[in-house]
């Protein structure tokens, strides 16, 4: 469970450049994730790895291709000091876990081993032994993530077939 760490204002243009949006299948998107910021990422990332980043993660374009690609990479979650709001709702809507916790971002380094309990919001840096607590999702939003995304959640409420 390796941590990849990035700075503030990681925008969706570097997460998945527009030149790849004309082929929106998730495998193709995943192969280009972070290409303009960290060209080695897509080849190196392993299922269960985590992204830790600074403030305003995912700013810019509304392209849902950004969280779709990272989910397809097998990344377990993104922990950031704060998220840009469209990335935030896109991640929730596709059932991809994200956690907002500036303290954890300050207390986790690249390569650390980290475990997360999404129900309680507890983030444990196994490498250093430090524990942090993100504010858990409100129940309505947590329900969307748990159901695997907005459309599944609508189904469970009878609003979709």
């Amino acid at each position: 469970m390796k941590v990849y760490k990035y700075g503030d204002n990681v925008d969706t243009d570097v997460i998945i450049p527009a030149r790849y949006l004309n082929a929106p299948d998730e495998r193709s998107l995943a192969s280009h994730w972070m290409e303009d910021l960290d060209p080695s990422f897509a080849a190196a990332v392993k299922p269960g790895d985590m992204i830790v980043a600074g403030s305003n993660f995912g700013c810019g374009s509304s392209r849902e291709h950004a969280p779709i690609a990272i989910k397809a990479c097998g990344v377990a979650c993104v922990i950031a000091a704060s998220f840009a709001r469209i990335f935030y709702r896109n991640a929730i809507n596709i059932g991809f876990p994200i956690l907002e916790c500036p303290e954890a971002v300050a207390g986790i380094s690249a390569g650390d081993e980290v475990s997360v309990d999404f129900d309680s919001g507890a983030i444990v840096n196994v490498t250093t032994g430090k524990t942090f607590r993100a504010v858990p999702f409100p129940p309505f939003v947590g329900g969307i993530v748990k159901n695997g995304g907005l459309l599944n959640s609508l189904k469970s409420r009878g609003l979709a077939k």
Binding site: N22, G60, S61, E64, A84, I94, L154, A160
Partner: protein, 425 residues
């Protein structure tokens, strides 16, 4: 407790008397919008979820604007998917090549946005329609799919920042300079999760095109939406475009704001954002002379008629410098035609500009003006992130149409006032 404009609109949409900042609500949608990049992803989610009907075929708009006229085979396949979906559900407001425009210029022009309405679009610059007193915000493709199927969407009610505008803009200063100045002051996450609520007597002299530009870039400060109160300019704009019933909402005197920002418009100078963040602002006189290879005048931010008039006023009777390529893209067919009838297109072509049919094209590095390694552009677009218009070594300077046009003529980043010689408007 009093409410802001945004709170009132969301309360109406949720069928509630009052909503508080931070409250999660589900609101009824007046319009669901998508483009040729985001709609295909929404269609695949829509189909995968098993939806077989749309909530209202007249309240969905699909605009093929980003990679169109299609730049390559893959882009053409995406447009074909969107076209098939529009046909399948008889989507009323489907706009294809020939009558499409850049969506955020087109939607207001077609009368699809009105005060008090709740509009979502799978495009981050959907916040543009706040200029008309609507609540409008960018969302993702899954939101678009859910919106098309149910006509409902979940929202967290945003807290607000009050932006008080006073005074009058000086010559060669426009809405673009106002919003770049604001983003420079509060930062690219300065309004994160919040609404930017514009107020103050400086609003009265801002044209609708200036207000569209200002609200368009609210997202560049991280805002959920930007919103202007409705006044005579708004009513004049809506005349002949919107004939359905709508309701304007004004903020209560005791509405709560997280903070206030006051901008005296008479003190603003032409402002630019240097690479690679919109918040990296300078007044143009501080950085004039920077070498450039390309100028782009257009986009959902600055491709409207007033923008083209301001650019043409600088380019008329002058020539684009030899080392610079200047690309002008009217944002809609109507704007293109109006500009042609006013003689602006002739001004551009005589000056040595390339004029294109409407498209988002170069703004996102799609086509129609992609940069090479180490090239730098002055663009009237909205984002100057790394790799946005070309390779990671290329750079974008964000500017107003007047600054962009002056730079095209000067062959380097330039102040229109020094090129034109003083305060002639």
């Amino acid at each position: 407790m009093g409410m802001t404009m945004t709170q009132k609109i969301l309360a109406r949409g949720a069928g509630l008397e009052y909503v508080a900042p931070g409250q999660l609500i589900e609101a009824k949608l007046n319009l669901v919008l998508g483009n040729d990049i985001t709609t295909p992803v929404a269609i695949s989610e829509f189909d995968r979820a098993g939806f077989t009907t749309v909530f209202d075929r007249e309240k969905i708009s699909i605009v093929l604007d980003h990679y169109t006229p299609c730049k390559d085979i893959k882009a053409a396949q995406l447009c074909a998917l969107a076209r098939e979906f529009a046909r399948r559900f008889s989507i009323t407001h489907f706009y294809d090549v020939g009558d499409m425009g850049v969506e955020h210029a087109l939607i207001p022009e077609k009368g699809l946005a009105a005060p008090g309405e709740i509009i979502i679009g799978a495009d981050s610059h959907t916040c543009t329609y706040g200029a008309l007193g609507a609540f409008s915000t960018g969302v993702g493709s899954t939101d678009m799919a859910a919106g098309m199927a149910t006509g409902l969407l979940w929202f967290k009610v945003p807290a607000a920042i009050k932006v008080i505008l006073t005074g009058n803009l000086r010559p060669y200063v426009s809405g673009k300079d106002v919003i770049l100045h604001l983003i420079g002051r509060i930062g690219v996450d300065g309004a994160l999760y919040r609404s930017l609520e514009f107020a103050g007597d400086g609003i009265t002299q801002l044209t609708m095109d200036d207000r569209f530009t200002i609200c368009n870039m609210a997202i560049e400060a991280g805002a959920k939406n930007g919103i202007f109160p409705v006044d005579e300019h708004t009513l004049e704009y809506l005349k002949g475009k919107v004939d359905r019933h709508w309701k304007a909402y004004s903020a209560d005197d005791d509405a709560q704001y997280d903070s206030e920002v006051v901008i005296d418009l008479s003190t603003l100078c032409p402002t630019v954002s240097l690479p690679h963040l919109p918040s990296n602002t300078r007044t143009v006189d501080e950085v004039a002379g920077m070498e450039i290879q390309q100028v782009v005048i257009g986009s959902c931010t600055n491709g409207r008629l007033k923008d083209l008039r301001e650019a043409a006023a600088v380019l008329r009777g002058r020539r684009v410098a030899e080392n610079v390529r200047c690309i002008v893209i009217p944002a809609t067919q109507k704007i293109y035609l109006d500009a042609m009838e006013e003689g602006l297109i002739a001004d551009f072509i005589r000056a040595g500009c390339a004029v294109s049919t409407p498209t988002c094209g170069p703004c996102l590095g799609g086509h129609m003006g992609v940069l090479a390694d180490n090239e730098r552009a002055v663009a009237t677009t909205n984002r100057n992130f790394v790799g946005r218009m070309g390779p990671v070594s290329s750079e974008i300077i964000l500017a107003s149409p007047a600054v962009a046009a002056a730079s095209a003529v000067a062959g380097c980043l330039a102040d229109p006032a020094s090129l034109m010689g003083g305060a002639e408007a």
